[in-house]
């Protein structure tokens, strides 16, 4: 461990590689996490199937690549398909649990996650899949650092998509309705907003965002039917750290998590890369708890 740390000081160039890789992948984490923040904030549903939606998007890109299309076309396709899928899931399941307590919605979304995993396993089998973008890989800084174009493109696409969603939430009628519902569902209802439709739209938009993130993940990492859970945990860590209505916070936490994973993989070894995510979740929860108790004391 110390050897690896000293390696980073002797050859600082490798910090650049770790930082870049972390930021690129972190942007995609932030995207999926923003979807979770939306659903959590607006509907108070903690969607445990978040990562499985990401993986579904990945399989859409993989399928398109199998058909001879470029997987990047999967981005709009997955967005639309997953939006529709989200709507169906909302109508079938989420609508029925939205007013129930925390456990019901947790169990319901956990159930959705299991069904998605098993269906993907039946269709695609358990072996890992990838979709190749075939884009250039650039060497910079004297061949010591490489940047795959697909990572850069994903980074930009993730940013663009996030920006588009922000504009949508601010400007469009539906976006305003979503924000109104998030603030006070009863008041929104009285003002004539069809909150049921808002919820359906929010959940579907989240699924669509996840699908898009999944398309990007498949071109950078590998996917497998049961990999959803790690992406779910990442989203939860980011949202818990950043809070719901805080998009800059989500982006910062996402990028930070990406970088943290790369560094822990380098310093502690690959098996601790994901352990870091869970470790950070615990740390964030403890921190939040301390914060909360301070606020409570102030109130007293």
């Amino acid at each position: 461990m110390l050897d690896n740390l000293s390696l980073l000081t002797i050859a600082p160039i490798f910090n650049v590689q770790l930082l870049l890789d972390g930021l690129f992948i972190g942007a995609i984490f932030a995207l999926a996490a923003y979807g979770l923040a939306l659903v959590w904030g607006v509907m108070n549903v903690k969607n445990l199937a978040q990562g499985d939606f990401v993986i579904m998007g990945g399989y859409i890109a993989f399928t398109l690549a199998e058909w001879g299309l470029h997987p990047i076309i999967g981005l709009p396709v997955a967005f639309v398909v997953m939006f529709a899928f989200g709507w169906i899931v909302y109508v079938l399941v989420i609508r029925r649990v939205i007013d129930r307590d925390l456990f019901t919605s947790l169990l319901a979304t956990f159930g959705i996650a299991i069904v998605v995993q098993q269906v993907l396993n039946q269709i695609y089998g358990p072996e890992v899949k990838t979709a190749e973008s075939g884009f250039e890989i650039r060497s910079i800084l004297g061949n010591q650092v490489t940047v795959a174009d697909i990572k850069l493109i994903s980074f930009l696409l993730a940013g663009g998509l996030a920006a588009a969603i922000v504009v949508f939430m601010k400007r469009s009628r539906m976006g305003q309705a979503i924000r109104a519902t998030a603030q006070d569902p009863r008041a929104a209802k009285i003002m004539g907003i069809d909150t049921d439709r808002v919820y359906a739209f929010t959940y579907s938009l989240n699924a669509a965002i996840c699908g898009a993130a999944g398309v990007l993940i498949t071109m950078i990492w590998v996917i497998q039917p049961f990999y959803g859970i790690t992406h779910s945990i990442r989203s939860f860590v980011i949202v818990t750290a950043a809070g719901f209505g805080n998009l800059p916070g989500v982006i910062m936490a996402g990028l930070g998590l990406g970088v943290a994973e790369q560094y822990s993989g380098f310093v502690l070894g690959a098996e601790f890369q994901q352990a870091t995510v869970v470790g950070l979740l615990v740390a964030v929860l403890v921190w939040r708890q301390i914060q909360q108790s301070r606020i409570r004391q102030v109130v007293q």
């Binding site: 690896n4 490798f14 990838t130 190749e132 049961f226 994973e261 690959a270």
Partner: protein
């Protein structure tokens, strides 16, 4: 009331008798047919390879039956295998083994698919003292339990990448360097199988006194190992070894190219399962892959002919195969062990047949077979193939090599 009870007793007795009758109908040898039994994964996560194994069993049975069958006591017998689908779950596998032995009266078993299933079934066959010849369970831990009735035709997991170490030492000596100067970077998944592979590599590396500069464990849901590979880039080892099922193979090959890791020698497992040549094209070139068997090997026997003949026959017999998986070849070899053992025992006495299996010493298209005390095949080496321009060519051990090894590996642009 009494009448009803009597009827019930009679019915129970009758159904018990029927069950017994059904059981004996499927005993070990029925007329001129020897019954073998196998629980095999036809559905679930191992289904693909389970079917490969079943096809291997079936091809050998067909071939043996066509070429005179099994001769015992001057009489010719045919082979037949009874299969049950274990749904890729160990508990179900153990149940079905119990059913094959207790209910169906099977006394000669063929193995299931995977180490996990074999681990579940072996205690059952051991309990009933029923010999099992298995072809798909490679875990070393299967052969440290002192099992007397378990025999495996394949090489065990610790041999999977050990030949890469020998090859690295060979090349070092050729280049006038000492094997002690060789630096190895390795990443193994943290699961029993991959750790067995790692143990074999560690043994051989320490035998040569090689230095291990990176020893990372990969998580179960591995999808990124770029941090480990960045370390590889920094430390410049002579040999990079990765084993973590097909996810390990896919992730390693993709990211080695993405990070332009320039390592002169790279050895991995599960290349075929991860389809690295289809997916990564030239990016997979010069990578060494371990395999149990390849159709280009010069192994040969009287029944199937050469490995290439087997390959041809298999492709003719089953549709949809462009390459023959080694899982099928070794399954066929397991059936050949049974035939050979029956004929040498010249009897169907279970103990005599078991002893005959233990004394097996034969050459097959799949490779030589000779069992250790523990029951694993010690005669057949693992071979290393190198991906050269998209095709798999055997490069080590040198005795079986069909092509010279490309060294150093060229990082693709």
């Amino acid at each position: 009331m009494a009448a009803t009870r009597r009827t019930l007793v009679a019915a129970t007795a009758l159904s018990a008798a029927m069950a017994l009758g059904a059981g004996s109908a499927l005993a070990k040898v029925e007329g001129d047919t020897i019954i073998l039994g196998s629980a095999i994964s036809l559905t679930g996560k191992y289904a693909t390879n389970g079917v490969h194994a079943q096809n291997g069993y079936e091809l050998a049975v067909k071939k043996i039956n066509e070429t005179g069958g099994v001769k015992v006591g001057g009489k010719s017998y045919k082979l037949k295998v009874v299969y049950y689908d274990d749904e890729s779950t160990p508990a179900r596998g153990a149940q079905l083994a119990e059913r094959l032995i207790k209910q169906d009266g099977v006394q000669f078993m063929l193995g299931p698919y995977s180490s996990g299933l074999t681990k579940a079934i072996a205690p059952v066959t051991e309990k009933y003292k029923i010999p099992m010849v298995e072809a798909e369970g490679a875990s070393r831990s299967l052969f440290t339990q002192g099992y007397k009735y378990l025999f495996a035709v394949l090489s065990t997991s610790e041999q999977y990448l050990a030949s890469a170490i020998d090859l690295a030492a060979e090349i070092a000596q050729k280049e006038g360097r000492k094997p002690q100067d060789i630096k190895i970077a390795m990443a193994f998944e943290n699961d029993p199988f991959s750790l067995d592979v790692r143990a074999g590599v560690m043994d051989d590396a320490s035998k040569y006194g090689m230095q291990i500069v990176i020893d990372d464990k990969l998580p179960r849901d591995l999808s990124d190992m770029s941090a480990t590979l960045t370390k590889v880039k920094a430390l410049k080892p002579d040999l990079l070894i990765v084993s973590g099922h097909s996810k390990g193979a896919a992730t390693a090959v993709r990211q080695v190219n993405e990070l332009k890791i320039d390592v002169p020698m790279m050895a991995i497992t599960h290349c075929e399962a991860a389809k690295v040549t289809d997916k990564f094209g030239p990016g997979a070139n010069d990578i060494l892959c371990s395999t149990q068997w390849a159709e280009t090997l010069s192994y040969e026997d009287e029944m199937f002919g050469t490995a290439a003949d087997y390959d041809k026959l298999f492709k003719e017999s089953f549709e949809g195969y462009t390459t023959v998986p080694y899982q099928s070849a070794q399954a066929s070899a397991a059936v050949m062990v049974w035939k050979d053992a029956f004929e040498r025992a010249n009897s169907f006495d279970i103990e005599k047949v078991r002893d005959a299996i233990a004394a097996t010493e034969m050459d097959t298209f799949y490779g030589p077979i000779k069992f250790s005390e523990a029951g694993n095949n010690i005669a057949k080496p693992m071979v290393l193939r190198q991906i050269q321009d998209g095709s798999y060519n055997v490069v080590a051990p040198s005795k079986w090599a069909s092509h010279p090894v490309n060294y150093p590996r060229q990082a693709s642009d």
